[in-house]
Subunit: 241 residues, 2 copies
Amino acid sequence: MNRGTPLQIAILLYPGVTALDVVGPWEVLSRVPGAEVRFVGKEVGPVDTEGGGLLLGVTHELAEATAPDLVVVPGGSTTPGQMVDDEILNWLRQVHATTSWTASVCTGALILGAAGILKGQPATTHWYKMGVLRIMGAKPRPDERVVRSGKIVTAAGVSAGIDLALWLAGEIAGRERAEAIQLVIEYDPHPPFGAGHMTKATKEVRDLARTMMDETVPADQRRLVPKIAWRRFIDLIRTAR
Amino acid sequence: MNRGTPLQIAILLYPGVTALDVVGPWEVLSRVPGAEVRFVGKEVGPVDTEGGGLLLGVTHELAEATAPDLVVVPGGSTTPGQMVDDEILNWLRQVHATTSWTASVCTGALILGAAGILKGQPATTHWYKMGVLRIMGAKPRPDERVVRSGKIVTAAGVSAGIDLALWLAGEIAGRERAEAIQLVIEYDPHPPFGAGHMTKATKEVRDLARTMMDETVPADQRRLVPKIAWRRFIDLIRTAR
């Protein structure tokens, strides 16, 4: 990456996206020298995020970001909808052809997978959807927080986007700059509990977390998802094979 | 906190706010049972965040959130402007009178301080502005990531809002629920570098981070801030003493 040229970064947004999947990477990557970040979506304007109530803004339509150096695909409660959206998938395939880095956070990996980008690649995603990676022909790495495979970098659930972005910042701008970004955002984590990974949480906590994940998708969406989106997704996977 | 009653949470937004200061706590607190989060600001609509390009949405005017159980005040490049804004400060004083918890992330502590809320209290903020806490009569705790003093809880810079919110979730909803939230957002941090605190970074990294902090505020704002906002702030501090 030439220091003199801007670094074009496209972060995909869609209704139901998980806000921290987006904002963790943003807070790091926007501080890389020369970074120009575009929040890309199907329509310019606000999108409501997972959980409802926090609005993020799409600043550019997909057609306005056709050759980013780095694309970041976040996850969300509505990931299945994105996995069967040809406009999103075609855009991803198009930009992936010329990116320096293609990255995902959380279930964003499943959208990359639906676009055919993870076939044969080691990858990770949110623990709750790890099995779907295998269906897509990827090689799940449930114990790694950030998985790099060539120019593809996938992160585990939600907050892992911060670690992913710091790693990318180091690759793009060098270790000293990445460490300075870490210090600027004072990323010296001290979680008050140690339950952040499936191997570290108690059975009660794992069960409660699974219940919370099931409840994440609003009831009316949950009714629709299996019937329409997942079926279309399965057809898509079959055709691709 | 009664499980049956909703938990009203107000997160303050303003132009120039640091997005991760807002979204870290949101991603945790919005998962507390009964939580109803309002993004509160002077005007309903989008605000551009620190760095420029990421838009967050104000959903409620200040007057629509006058009795939150929990208020969260984030920091940002334009903190000094908020510290002399009587509408913001009066709202904070009003809500603080009846909150169960009053919290800040990063330089949000300086806004609490300007409202007179931190006088005599141990508190923390972003390392770059730690000295300002003392001017306000607070007791700086630069080595603690989350500082609790009665119902006031302050966090260190930017990413510390996640640790703060998990701690608060434990107090409000119990440890098991807080741990399940930690697992849902897979907060099992593995920073690729260890430079997240001033005591851990090299001199070169500390110097670069300081330069980056100076560059954060756009040039035209930097010209205005010392002349207008900081002077008014100092007057305010003097009057309060």
